[in-house]
Symmetry: C3
Subunit: 342 residues, 3 copies
């Protein structure tokens, strides 16, 4: 039951409708015609709500919940109270995501340009865009249809933005080409100069940063994240990448499709990150490295060598995760030995 001041609910929907939309099956005893009016977390759900169980950690809450229906893995369905209709799913969290999107569909922004927005006459704003107060759009910028440009956003000279892209409050973009259906969170900084210096004994010389940032379609970029423009080559964020808050992407970095980077990680200059890589929080990737497709990097790891596709690495300097587990265990063993010699 999301707060109606912030979220507008659709529905109600019948169980059968929901099951179809979310790829779940009605368990025995669930009435396909039963209607639900909303989604809610396990602990707060009442008889008119749909909830879900994904993490075994919450099975106690599941066993005592009062939800009208619950999406759950088949193996745990019998732990539900008898009044709770069960929708079994092989991917309960994904099914819940689809259910929540059914109840809370994302609508196109209400079109219009606020009188306190500042749009240069030489900028092009697509049909159906919404430009909020305090937004500044500079000369030569081009926005596709139905974009949402939030309050106090700055879109720099000649920046291009695709259709249905959303840019939240206070973000600033320059020297970049952004695709369609991209979501840029508040305070994001895209396109500023990379950190490029030629250093020698006489000090450092600033290297002009003459590349751009290319953000492909369907990318999401978290709050206060920074993505520098290339030094000569472009910085590229591949289609469907999801980047969390406070992440640093340095100049010339290229990231493949569908890669996910959690909060506070950083990728140094000219590194190449493959497709569908998963980078946990507070990870650092050294410059000029290659991280292969499908790699997984554990939180706080420090990557200082190329990593082959499909590997999982952890630690600083990062090593294969099995080695890291052994190192960690050996270190604990050493510490014990020292404290209480055998």
């Amino acid at each position: 039951m999301p707060d109606p001041r912030f979220f507008a609910v659709a529905g109600p929907f019948a169980l059968a409708e929901i099951a179809e939309a979310v790829g779940a099956l009605l368990a025995a005893g669930a009435d396909p015609a039963k209607t639900l009016s909303d989604v809610a977390p396990l602990g707060q759900a009442g008889p008119e709500h749909l909830s879900f169980l994904d993490n075994r950690k919450y099975v106690e809450a599941f066993a005592t919940c009062r939800a009208g229906a619950c999406i759950a893995p088949a193996a745990l369905a019998d732990r539900a109270p008898p009044d709770v209709a069960i929708l079994t799913s092989e991917a309960p969290y994904k099914s819940y995501a689809l259910a929540a999107a059914l109840f809370y569909p994302v609508s196109a922004p209400a079109p219009g340009v606020h009188p306190a927005a500042v749009i240069d006459p030489a900028a092009v704003v697509g049909e159906g865009c919404r430009i909020e107060a305090g937004a500044v759009i500079e000369a030569g910028a081009r926005l596709g249809a139905r974009c949402l440009i939030g309050a106090n956003v700055t879109i720099g000279t000649a920046v291009e933005i695709g259709e249905d892209t959303r840019i939240a409050a206070g973000a600033s973009l320059s020297h970049c080409i952004v695709g369609a259906r991209v979501s840029i969170f508040p305070g994001v900084r895209i396109g500023q100069e990379g950190f490029g210096f030629a250093v020698d004994k006489s000090g450092h010389v600033r290297v002009p940063q003459l590349g751009r940032v290319l953000i492909e379609d369907d990318v999401e970029i978290g709050a206060n994240t920074t993505i520098d423009r290339g030094a000569g080559p472009d910085t590229v964020i591949g289609q469907g990448c999801c980047i969390d808050n406070l992440v640093q992407i340095a100049h010339n970095v290229r990231i493949g499709r569908g890669t996910m980077i959690a909060a506070q990680s950083g990728v140094a200059g000219s590194a190449r990150i493959g497709d569908f890589v998963q980078i946990a929080g507070q990870v650092g990737v050294l410059g000029h490295l290659t991280v292969g497709d499908g790699v997984q990097l554990v939180g706080q790891s420090g990557i200082i060598r190329d990593i082959e596709p499909g590997e999982t690495y952890a630690g600083t300097p990062a090593v294969p995760i099995r080695q890291w587990h052994r190192q960690t265990a050996q270190l604990a063993r050493l510490a014990r030995g020292r404290a209480s010699p055998e």
Copy 2:
């Protein structure tokens, strides 16, 4: 002697007045009627200034200081030059804090709405608020009395803010309920969607983020920090928490009362942090964990398991601090052994 362009001083105050206000005692020889006009650091203080000694590292500076008076621990009082009046305190830093607040009281903001602020007619602004230029306050937002909304701040639809809360330049808030006497620093991002995806072999599906952020009374949130709204449950920051700059608080996190989190730390989704926890800088807390009341986490530690109340942990993966010290010592010993075998 703070720069008068930036800080307006009250006073002067007599030593007796100061001692009472700050919970200190006049040492032998200190004249209760002596007046002081300002506070100053040890190295810069002159005869009209009050200074303080808290860290033994600065005892040399104390021994040669020219301050009119100095707050110090009784045990070090005899290290002061003879002209310096001493106020002894069991908590010199706290006493100094109270003295500085006496000389530099925080006043309510000068009320008024700048003509370049943009306030939706359907927003409610309390009495005595100050709304600065470029601030944007959207429909349904409600501000308590005497709030300060800084330049270029964005307050989203239906956001509620308690009395005497201050929000500094360029911050943006959405989907949140904020208490009284909260201080939000420049560039803070509150209420944006959490980083929630259901991932399987066919890619990832965005999980609608339908919760809020609840910020209780007397909280402080540092510059460019990001706090995501809940996915279904709310993200909650407890009464009196102090969060430093560039911290990441993910969706569904619940933090108890009086907890302090230093800069660049991150708490992943659905973690629970107790009351009066102290988290140093660059710490990472994994999702879905519980960190008990009064826990202390050393800088750069990586927390991957629940931690019992009152424990102190360090390292990645974090271990009890005594174990960490032993591990560190053993590792150094191993390295020496390898380099110069005995």
Copy 3:
């Protein structure tokens, strides 16, 4: 060939002109009168472009490049294709930087105050400044000549800014004195209160933060970086320092001249960092420490003790880099031994 929508090229220039400007020598066979119209990365350069080789990693690209001319170390000059004119340099990257600055000179901002900027009548704006839309400049602020104040920037009361300083979109400054030719990137936060509390059993008391931030000449500060004002002393960033994105500089920190700090590093309160220190990414420096001149800190290291000038440290807790390499090797050896005992 930078994108002309974002970058305006000067030139063309003859090889002889370029060689002189960048401190390089024409290799045998290079025609001094040959003109080039632009710079380009190795992989994209054509016959009218100047490129460069600095990192041996890219020698294959060099060997097959189509550039008109290329700056390279003398030792690798013979790896170039025969049509490529070579300019040999002992510091190819620095020479390239100078060449790129020749083709893409930084020009003074076009002067003018946008009508949607808000400048308090009691602020002073120097000659030739450019103040963009949504910028807010408060009473008593003083800007030197030819400053660029970007869109939606906030300059607080009494802030002073030297000549030719550039402040990019959405940044906010208060309680600070900024030198000449400083470059402040988007979203930077300077001058907010430091994280200062006096903590005891009865809770914490806020310590008034009565110092300033002093930014000396020729400093660069990366996007979304935060620099807190001093608690009593000032926070000082020395002449020519370069600070990357998302860095945290706490109250009272003093940084010497020419020091470089990469992204996501943090320096805790009252630490002193010397001249020409190099701090890599995600490093943490504990409060009240001294890091000597010329020190190098490896990425992700955690500094918990003073460091003598000229040392290189790595790890958490940081140790001399040779020790860190031995520790890392020993740990890997232990892990192997455990897995497959000899």
